[in-house]
Symmetry: C2
Subunit: 439 residues, 2 copies
């Protein structure tokens, strides 16, 4: 076989390339070399683009159509407000010190700086028994979800809330847990979907939920904005313990809770033996671009064969990750000083005020609205409508980008998610536009 | 079944915990709850701790034994010299600007800032046809190796150089490509080991190498320090094309090349259809703690079914990663300005001078030494000795930490790796100690 063996086809991407990028001017498009590597069957199973890039693509299309439109982005939950100076100063100082003999540091511990692990344990888990060594600093919870999937492997069974943040399910598909996508149900065959809506107070009916190894659970929820109550989480922990399941609890929005709902799964007795918690500085401190988060794996969490889960997670972190950026970690530490925390919480309050304005706006249009009280997301119901239709309708009528609820799973059909992350003037302008068009 | 069902055992980790950490004072150790989640069989197959934490554990043990010893760390390849001010200033300014309305930015593109992708393409791949959009910015090549494994999945076959950087193999085991570890050979059953040593000028005998889907290839090599020649890499590319394989080429040490060997696999004709390149700012600019790297996936690289690999890698990056820290990216951009690059290359020259001193030292002891010319690693041969024995012997006699060659695979047995990353005074002191003990 010649080393210039070729596959007989004219791939679309090649056709779109400028000719200069082809190896030789005379090379025929039909003789392009392709490898014999079989595409990962799990990636074949992913149904569509990851949600947010898909929305971005549609936004770009809209901008081409309306080049003069002033678009307001209430789609991806992306922080907009400057980070308090006390935090960026600490990062800047840390960065500058890297130019000095005394301040230079190379590799840090893969699990994170000791001082930061301790500060996280003390700030978010006071009196909950979380030890510093159980806290693993990450570059964000989305990244740690994939590392958890590497930990768990393809053989575990998985449950997700429906609707849910797409990273849980997409990473399940990529690692090979999900099975085939079924067009009839719009669900992956091997994933247990726990429907959460107004009919069940956004908490799954556990009496009809099948046992799975892993239960992804996000509270306050993205996208519905619902914070599970102490009673609901107690049921969840009992369910997980009875079934020998592991809960992967995502508390990325816990600082937005205002009604006394639990901010951590470890507030629930018995959870240390059945729950991992992932969280993030992204929405606490505007670190979406800085990249910093953490995962807690309690010592008492064991596999069926009695090996502690923390042992394997430590191995994954050491092998597949090399620690979060040391500068970002310096920023995280500054966030958790008393002054730093006060400063970031004032930004959180600003977004909460935005959420109130959005709730009031959509309510005034006669719509039923959920979320927005314990979370920076407002979940608006359009009974009888399709989410992508409403997404397009709102975009076309008001130049406001939202997120179609169906992007979070079939349980999100008929809803749109609106983010409260935004500059106040834009939130107010969005409110005016919506009222003008729909009131 | 009770929700307080328990497994009947007294796990070691629990016994070591202070009593206060147990749920209730009267809780019996024999009634600890464990889940029914089966441990990932791939993690069962990992043979030992990840190499560097293992060395660190032995170093700590040594420090307990000799609390007054002045230990010199020539083990893990960790940069020691301050980062030039022009780069840290840029990071500090970027960080400070995050406190301003104008300078604040949230999520960046998952694939990296456009300007940085462009600068990487222009700085490292000038005239090699690499497009900006083929460059994916990462938080380091070790992290991207794991993301590549998520891309490839468990069904591909893999070849590694022997000896090799442990992240390739360990990540292969974790994703499920490696099969069982065989005690007789000290090799994983399903991995093709391509022995590289002085007998074959550190380049595998491809006539006896089995075809695999993936070939991990590191040049300049970690740990041997060998930079593959143009002729060797031409053979490798021809071999990959003939077999329809994908080369994952690790060029993390390319700036250390002094003898004109290729700095990128894309210098070899035909490589764009068969090679991915991973690289890193860690050893270019002392970014081991800052965390920044990149991966190039050419448009012309296709799976057997004609899907472009870049399509799936983009999906992995968007789903399993959220971009490198924006502050680190600002630092990377500063590295690639003319002044920045000149400044970081002067630090590279400093480490190269260290390497010369180490080569001279071990040579003067009558040992045969490889590497150190095109790489910051010196690969010292101790014929007839075991690597871990030499590691311990050197540590005990001189308080110098090295890396046992066998930690990089069976082909590294009889060698130790010594890093040239270090402060000059420590390198000189190490030289004196080694000569005093062994001359």
């Amino acid at each position: 076989m010649s080393i210039f063996s070729s596959c007989k086809f004219v791939p679309h991407a090649i056709l779109l390339q400028p000719k200069a990028s082809l190896k030789t001017p005379n090379q025929s498009l039909a003789t392009v070399h392709c490898t014999k590597v079989v595409r990962n069957v799990n990636l074949e199973k992913l149904r569509h683009n990851y949600l947010f890039p898909e929305i971005e693509a549609r936004a770009l299309e809209h901008m081409k159509k309306y080049p003069d439109a002033n678009i307001i982005r209430l789609g991806i939950g992306d922080t907009t407000e400057p980070i308090p100076d006390i935090i960026t100063s600490n990062m800047a100082e840390y960065a500058k010190a890297l130019s000095t003999r005394k301040g230079y540091k190379g590799y840090g511990a893969e699990q994170g700086h000791k001082a930061l692990r301790k500060a996280i344990a003390e700030s978010f888990y006071k009196d909950l028994g979380v030890k510093d060594a159980e806290v693993f600093v990450s570059d964000g919870s989305q990244c740690d979800i994939s590392r958890l999937q590497l930990l768990l492997g393809s053989s575990v069974s998985v449950a997700v809330q429906d609707p849910n943040f797409p990273a849980y399910m997409d990473s399940s598909v990529i690692i090979g847990q999900a099975g085939d996508f079924l067009d009839e149900t719009l669900k992956y065959k091997n994933i247990e979907y726990m429907t959460c809506g107004p009919h069940n107070n956004f908490f799954p009916d556990l009496s009809t939920t099948s046992r799975t190894d892993i239960i992804f659970f996000c509270s306050p929820n993205n996208p519905t904005g619902h914070a599970a109550s102490h009673e609901q989480l107690t049921q969840l922990v009992e369910f997980a313990r009875k079934n020998g399941s592991i809960i992967v609890y995502d508390s990325a929005y816990s600082v937005y809770i205002t009604d006394g709902s639990p901010k951590s799964i470890y507030e629930i007795p018995g959870s240390r033996e059945c729950a991992i918690e992932i969280s993030s500085f992204s929405k606490i401190a505007g670190f979406t671009g800085v990249r910093l988060g953490w995962t807690v794996v309690p010592d008492e969490l064991y596999y069926a064969n009695k090996v502690p889960v923390i042992h394997d997670f430590d191995r994954i972190v050491c092998t597949c990750f090399n620690g979060a950026s040391s500068i970002a970690q310096a920023g995280g530490l500054a966030c958790l000083s008393p002054e730093g925390f006060k400063a970031v919480m004032s930004v959180v309050d600003y977004y909460k005020e935005n959420a109130k304005i959005l709730v009031e706006t959509f309510t005034s249009l006669g719509l039923v609205v959920y979320g927005g009280v314990n979370a920076p997301y407002v979940w608006v119901h359009f009974p009888g409508s399709r989410s992508w239709d409403m997404f397009s309708h709102i975009l076309n009528k008001t130049h406001i980008i939202t997120v179609p609820g169906s992007g979070f799973g079939p349980g999100g059909e008929g809803y749109i998610r609106v983010t409260a992350f935004g500059q106040r003037e834009n939130i107010l302008e969005a409110s005016v536009r919506l009222k003008n068009v729909y009131l």
